[in-house]
């Protein structure tokens, strides 16, 4: 179920108008109480029907969010034998001459399907600011809140009338320090709450989506017709813009009721769960594949922020990287096998990289100056390794890339104009990507 914070954000819009406060009570009495008692439509909507619709839908995106920031040395940009290289060796990949960490043997075999950037260079060095910027594309400019990439894609590529949530965040960890703070923030920004994520995982479950036994589908349908009629009448009488927002949320609740079976991990084939699992990150990556197959536009998969290895970096990466390796391998191959990779963009990244030098606690600290990320699929040129760092990984030595150009490239790959101006009355001029940052032609198909 949509989290209450997001509802609160929507209901307590920054304008603070009497209109919003007036309708909060009505809304809560209406839609939320209704949501708690509405019917299960599971028998009316089958998963194959969603899938057919999704295939016609077009482009979508899965973000494997490696929160906390993985080490580029133990993943995409190894420096074996260098003082900064750490204990792991590098291995050749399916791209001649390109090596990655020995912890990623499966991914090495499909490097020709990936697009890797080894020259990311950004500024924020603290988690909250970096997570915020690398998911929105810009540093903050209060009091305006730029929407997350997921919200932008949900609006531009999604089908709002689809019962399947267009933007889903899968993350089992209730805590996560800075990531927790970020998760409590306003994700959809000026696009409006309806473009925020549906959260699932851990304590976030799809609850109250089953019809009570004593309520028939017909009765439920009748109640919905009455609610819809009253809402329209209320809107006409009061000319309240807020009603539209409330109705959008109500529709999402109804959609979730219908889409609930899609979130049932236990219903996914055991063979798939064995390949992606057993960890939660893998299970949620599998669920992400399942959701985009069935109509979601943007699915962000996170697992708390385990990559923040200030302590025992190599001892933790020895587990995290092989898990990611397996997930990336199966996800990319599965999408390719389903002929979905051409329309599905997969992003594999965190908010920055980690220091070339080790601290006293066997850890690597935050390093936004020179780091790596990887992508695959939709609109990208496969088998490309873009940019490079020097022999010790201290500086970007070739074609540095900041978040604006990365976002411009991502939007272009998904068929969106990166420079379009938002239509925001009484706001300053905002563009989807600022400063006319150009997409990277070498990365685009």
């Amino acid at each position: 179920m949509q989290n209450n914070h997001r509802l609160d954000t929507m209901l307590n819009a920054p304008c603070g108008s009497v209109d919003h406060r007036l309708h909060r009570r009505l809304f809560l009495q209406g839609s939320l109480a209704g949501a708690a008692s509405v019917a299960s439509f599971q028998s009316l909507f089958s998963v194959p029907a969603f899938a057919d619709s999704a295939r016609a839908q077009g482009k979508r995106c899965i973000l494997l969010w490696l929160c906390g920031a993985p080490s580029q040395f133990e993943t995409w940009d190894p420096k074996p034998s260098r003082p900064t290289g750490g204990p792991f060796a590098s291995i050749p990949t399916s791209i001649p001459g390109v090596h990655i960490s020995e912890l990623m043997p499966k991914t090495a075999s499909i490097m020709d399907k990936l697009t890797v950037v080894r020259s990311m260079s950004t500024e924020p060095s603290e988690h909250f600011q970096a997570i915020d910027m690398l998911t929105r594309g810009e540093p903050p400019r209060p009091p305006f809140t730029r929407p997350l990439m997921g919200s932008v894609l949900a609006k531009q590529l999604g089908q709002l009338d689809s019962p399947v949530p267009q933007f889903v965040l899968l993350d089992p960890c209730p805590e996560g320090n800075e990531f927790k703070a970020f998760k409590a923030a306003n994700w959809a920004g000026w696009l409006g709450a309806e473009y925020g994520p549906v959260r699932f995982g851990g304590k976030y479950k799809l609850e109250n989506v089953n019809l009570p036994n004593d309520l028939s589908a017909t009765d439920h349908s009748d109640r919905e017709a009455l609610r819809s009629f009253l809402s329209k009448k209320f809107a006409n009488d009061h000319k309240a813009a807020s009603v539209q927002s409330y109705n959008s949320v109500f529709e999402r609740v109804r959609g979730l009721m219908q889409a609930a079976p899609l979130f049932d991990l236990n219903a996914l084939p055991q063979a798939d769960r064995d390949r992606y699992g057993p960890g939660t990150f893998g299970m949620h990556a599998l669920l992400a594949r399942h959701l985009v197959e069935n109509g979601s536009t943007f699915v962000m998969v996170a697992n708390g922020m385990p990559w923040d290895c200030h302590v025992l970096n190599h001892e933790t990466h020895q587990m995290l990287v092989p898990e990611t390796d397996r997930i990336v391998f199966h996800l990319i191959n599965d999408l390719a096998d389903r002929r979905m990779l051409d329309d599905t963009l997969v992003l594999i990244m965190g908010e920055f990289g980690r220091t070339p030098w080790l601290n006293e606690a066997r850890g690597r600290d935050h390093y936004p100056k020179a780091w790596s990320m990887a992508m695959a699929g939709c609109g990208l040129k496969p088998g490309v390794v873009y940019g490079s760092t020097d022999e010790n990984g201290v500086e970007v030595s070739d074609r540095p890339l900041d978040q604006r150009r990365l976002f411009a490239t991502i939007y272009r790959a998904l068929g969106l104009d990166p420079h379009v101006t938002y239509d925001l009355p009484d706001f300053p001029t905002f563009n989807r990507v600022e400063k006319d940052a150009a997409p990277v032609a070498e990365l685009l198909a």
Partner: protein, 393 residues
């Protein structure tokens, strides 16, 4: 009786020191470093103005994690994160410095951290080199009678939804003949097995792992005599992530072999801060079930991962040392009998290894500070060996 630890000197190594072995005459030290195996002559007078320059005598293809000097046959054993075991014959003439350019380092061997400083490199090829693990050798021990070598391994991979470890794909506690390198025993334990020790009589070998599992085997029979779990060293990262971190980083038998000590750090509030309590626990491993007999006294403990345990030759005291995250010490002397803290030192570096001289008067502490950023294209040294005078006050 209080014990004072008075620092005598500090010797720098290009990269971090992960293990240390010192000749019983106190004149030569051998260090397992991130970038290779080093030999260093120790000055008789710690106040000598000329600091010794360690000589690199060999390399593995990754960090060297364990080192042990066999004085009986003048051999040097080393293990590495590359999973190999090497044995060098120290009686062989070291290649002269003139051979430096021709010294052949293993492929992918770490480049020395201070290339600009160009420390001495005198290659001493191993007489025995074999891959003994598929993953790191986390630690290595030489039995006191110098007959056996034990090496422990195991990669932590997710084995369940809660990220508890996957069962090992190969035996990961291995005992070898110290002279020939021949495998004698191969035991299994849940990964990752992070530390190993022999008892003073060379009859038993013990190991500890990420999950707080401990086990003791009899060397003669290969029989497992005890196994148990202590939950006090392992964190499941509720704050930031759902995976396991920490575990036991040092084990050591008591002088009478009847107790096994484990060291590490307690549960962390934030797994990425390393802020668990400095911790040792003592177990009567022959009891059924195994009994926790003693542990560090709560108000004598600061924060930080403890990585090494060592006994004074008399057996009256032991040292636990590691990293200081918070508190007053990162090396402390405890009474074997009471467990009371008797003396302490705050060294300003993470300590990986503590060793006593045969007379118990000198404590050797080796380890590293954080690796500095490069200056003028070279990395300053960050590995250290410090000597301390041990005094009863």
């Amino acid at each position: 009786m209080p014990i004072a630890l008075e620092k005598l000197d500090r010797i720098a190594f290009p990269m971090g020191v992960m293990d240390l072995s010192v000749h019983s005459d106190g004149l030569m030290a051998y260090a397992a470093c991130m970038d290779g195996i080093y030999q260093c002559a120790l000055p008789v007078d710690p106040k000598a103005t000329d600091k010794p320059i360690p000589t690199r005598i060999g390399q593995h293809t990754s960090y060297v994690s364990g080192i042990a000097l066999m004085e009986s046959n003048s051999s040097l054993v080393s293990t590495s994160y590359d999973g190999t075991l090497q044995i060098r014959d120290l009686s062989t003439r070291l290649a002269s410095e003139n051979d430096k350019d021709e010294a052949i380092a293993p492929e992918n061997a770490p480049v020395n951290a201070t290339e600009a400083a160009s420390p001495k490199i005198v290659e001493l090829p191993p007489r025995f080199s074999q891959r003994v693990h598929n993953f790191w050798s986390w630690g290595m021990a030489l039995s006191p009678d110098e007959r056996y070598i034990a090496s422990v391994s195991g990669q932590y991979l997710a084995g369940a939804e809660d990220y508890s470890p996957l069962k090992a794909s190969e035996p990961n506690v291995k005992v070898f003949d110290a002279t020939s390198g021949k495998l004698i025993h191969a035991f299994e334990m849940l990964p990752s097995v992070q530390c190993v020790a022999f008892d003073p009589k060379s009859q038993f070998v013990a190991a500890g792992n990420l999950m707080g599992d401990l086990a003791v085997w009899e060397i003669a029979s290969g029989q497992k005599l005890a196994e148990w779990r202590t939950p006090d060293f392992t964190s499941w990262g509720i704050i930031k992530s759902h995976c396991y971190i920490g575990g036991i980083y040092a084990v050591a038998f008591s002088p009478d072999s009847e107790s096994l000590y484990a060291a590490g750090m307690g549960e962390m509030k934030d797994p990425m801060a390393g802020n668990g309590k400095q911790k040792w626990q003592r177990f009567r491993w022959r009891k059924t079930p195994v009994e926790k007999h003693q542990e560090i006294i709560a108000d004598q403990s600061g924060e930080g991962l403890m990585e090494t345990l060592a006994w004074t030759p008399s057996g009256e005291h032991f040292v636990m040392a590691g990293r200081l995250r918070g508190g007053n010490w990162n090396a402390a002397v405890f009474s074997t009998e009471s467990g009371q803290l008797l003396g302490q030192a705050k060294t300003g570096m993470r300590i990986t290894t503590a060793r006593f001289s045969p007379d118990g008067h000198v404590l050797y502490l080796a380890g590293m500070q954080g690796q500095p950023a490069p200056k003028k294209d070279s990395f300053p040294s960050f590995g250290y060996l410090e000597r301390y005078q041990v005094k009863a006050t």
